[in-house]
């Protein structure tokens, strides 16, 4: 597969992956998601070793985060202790693993964005030398996702309050329902994300200059396919996770 995908398609894919990373909360599921994301990176012919090299400085941070989660999360069985001082509990280990896996997924997904050979992505994103932009992008993604999740939860609540027993709707209808809900949810989330970014800019936050582009982007069949399949799959997985389906 030679991937010359539109950056917008990649963005959709990244958003889907990160949504799942936030929704899932067990190491097993997160690990599978990470594996799938890395598989995707390989499909995109990304040189993982080089990426690792770029990311080395951040691994320290991850390690620190992991240890902090492990040590400061109480509960579970004690695994390691010095005298009576507990160093490591099962719950801590679980939390630490979860957090680190989540971050790794978000980072791996963000790497996808760097594969765009059109220059429509902020050049700083492509050039790892400018970590500030990367951090910015990732932080925006992370900020965006809770909005998306809230939006999803709101809609699911609202649908049920109108008397629809989501769990009992037959499969065919359920797919149709989710298909119809998908657009409004995404639109609502986008409107809110726009408000967020306007609010950020209004308070003087500026990551890069506003630009207009002469070149038009065109979506290919691959793009359309992926833009449909990814969110569909994500919604399905989320539904499965929340036991709605």
């Amino acid at each position: 597969m030679t991937m010359k995908l539109d950056p917008r398609t990649k963005l959709v894919m990244v958003l889907c992956i990160t949504t799942l990373a936030i929704v899932y909360n067990t190491p097993g599921a997160l690990f599978l998601l990470l594996a799938a994301t890395i598989g995707l990176l390989l499909l995109f012919r990304i040189n993982l070793i080089r990426v690792m090299g770029y990311l080395k400085p951040y691994f320290m941070l991850l390690l620190v985060l992991f240890l902090a989660q492990c040590i400061f999360t109480p509960g579970g069985e004690v695994l390691l202790a010095i005298g009576s001082v507990r160093l490591l509990g099962t719950r801590g280990l679980l939390m630490g693993t979860t957090v680190v896996l989540r971050l790794l997924i978000v980072i791996a997904a963000a790497v996808l964005l760097t594969t765009s050979n059109s220059r429509d992505f902020i050049s700083g994103l492509v050039q790892w030398k400018v970590p500030y932009e990367v951090a910015f992008m990732v932080s925006v993604t992370i900020r965006f996702l809770p909005i998306f999740r809230d939006e999803f939860i709101n809609v699911v609540t609202a649908v049920q309050l109108r008397g629809v027993e989501l769990k009992k709707v037959p499969w065919g209808q359920k797919i149709d329902l989710f298909r119809r809900l998908f657009f409004p949810v995404v639109y609502g989330a986008i409107v809110k994300a726009q408000q967020l970014s306007v609010a950020m800019e209004a308070r003087g936050f500026r990551a890069y200059p506003r630009r207009t582009y002469l070149r038009q982007l065109y979506l290919t069949r691959w793009d359309y396919g992926l833009i449909l399949v990814f969110p569909g799959l994500t919604l399905l997985l989320m539904g499965l996770h929340m036991r709605l389906v």
Binding site: V155, L161, R162, Y187
Partner: protein, 255 residues
């Protein structure tokens, strides 16, 4: 009943209001000693709430920003679960109902219309509940037309709901819930964003709903609106019931 409530009740000579709020058997929705806080650490948003809602009558809940009105209504429909105390609907614990089962008994209009509109067109939004409850298409169509017309949304029939103006969204949210013709209605600040004329329309509609023997609870800051529609007024303050006009069994609107 806590000491505090009992004390007030004795002082105020408890007589049921005209909408026969009183007999335990007649209660539609009953909250006893309900407390709630968002995530364990935070201070309680609501505490020691004892309230009974009859199947009929219009009740208003008032109180300053952040006193917990929205939280209270969300507890009443089971979007949130109480941290302490018990809520019962038609004599059974609310916990035993699914959200959809509650939704078929109680229509809930969110404070923020953006949180409850999810269809691709205005028409679909109003018909959604009916369609999914298996109503005949002809019946759905008739009901949808009526509410489109009543709330003057007909010109927007095919519009995308989230693109409407705030007041239009609010009307649509109300219409969508009313179209399901639930036996009990809870509206969280329904008059916000409505102009005077539309507010009047809503008032009339609520009176009509009440005349059909249905119960209505509205959360509102709008003194005038409340005094026009409500026969019972509950005031919250700091997460507790400060005043309930049914304590005295009269209709004064001093809140």
């Amino acid at each position: 009943m806590t000491g505090r409530d009992t004390y007030i009740r004795e002082e105020a000579q408890y007589i049921p209001a005209r909408s026969s709020i009183g007999e335990a058997g007649a209660a539609f929705l009953e909250l006893s000693q309900v407390g709630f806080s968002y995530s364990g650490k935070r201070p309680a948003v609501l505490s020691g709430i004892n309230l009974t809602f009859a199947r009929e009558g219009i009740t208003a809940i008032m109180g300053p920003n952040g006193c917990g009105k929205t939280t209270l209504t969300k507890l009443m429909v089971g979007i949130l679960s109480p941290a302490s105390g018990e809520i019962s609907l038609e004599g059974r614990s609310l916990q035993e109902y699914t959200l959809a089962q509650v939704g078929r008994r109680i229509g809930y209009v969110f404070q923020n219309p953006n949180h409850q509109l999810f269809c691709s067109t205005v028409e679909e939004e109003i018909g959604f509940g009916l369609t999914h409850l298996g109503e005949e298409p002809a019946v759905v169509r008739e009901r949808v037309d009526f509410y489109l017309d009543y709330f003057e949304l007909s010109p927007y029939r095919d519009q995308f709901p989230l693109n409407l103006s705030y007041g239009e969204k609010q009307r649509l949210a109300i219409a969508a819930v009313l179209a399901g013709e639930p036996g009990f209605l809870i509206l969280d600040e329904p008059t916000v964003g409505l102009d005077i004329y539309r507010e009047k329309l809503l008032e009339e509609q609520l009176h009509k709903v009440a005349e059909l023997g249905r119960g209505v609870v509205i959360v509102s800051h709008d003194n005038k609106f409340v005094s026009q529609v409500a026969e019972r007024i509950i005031t919250l303050e700091n997460g507790q019931v400060k005043w309930d006009s049914s304590w005295r069994g009269n209709n004064d609107h001093e809140a």
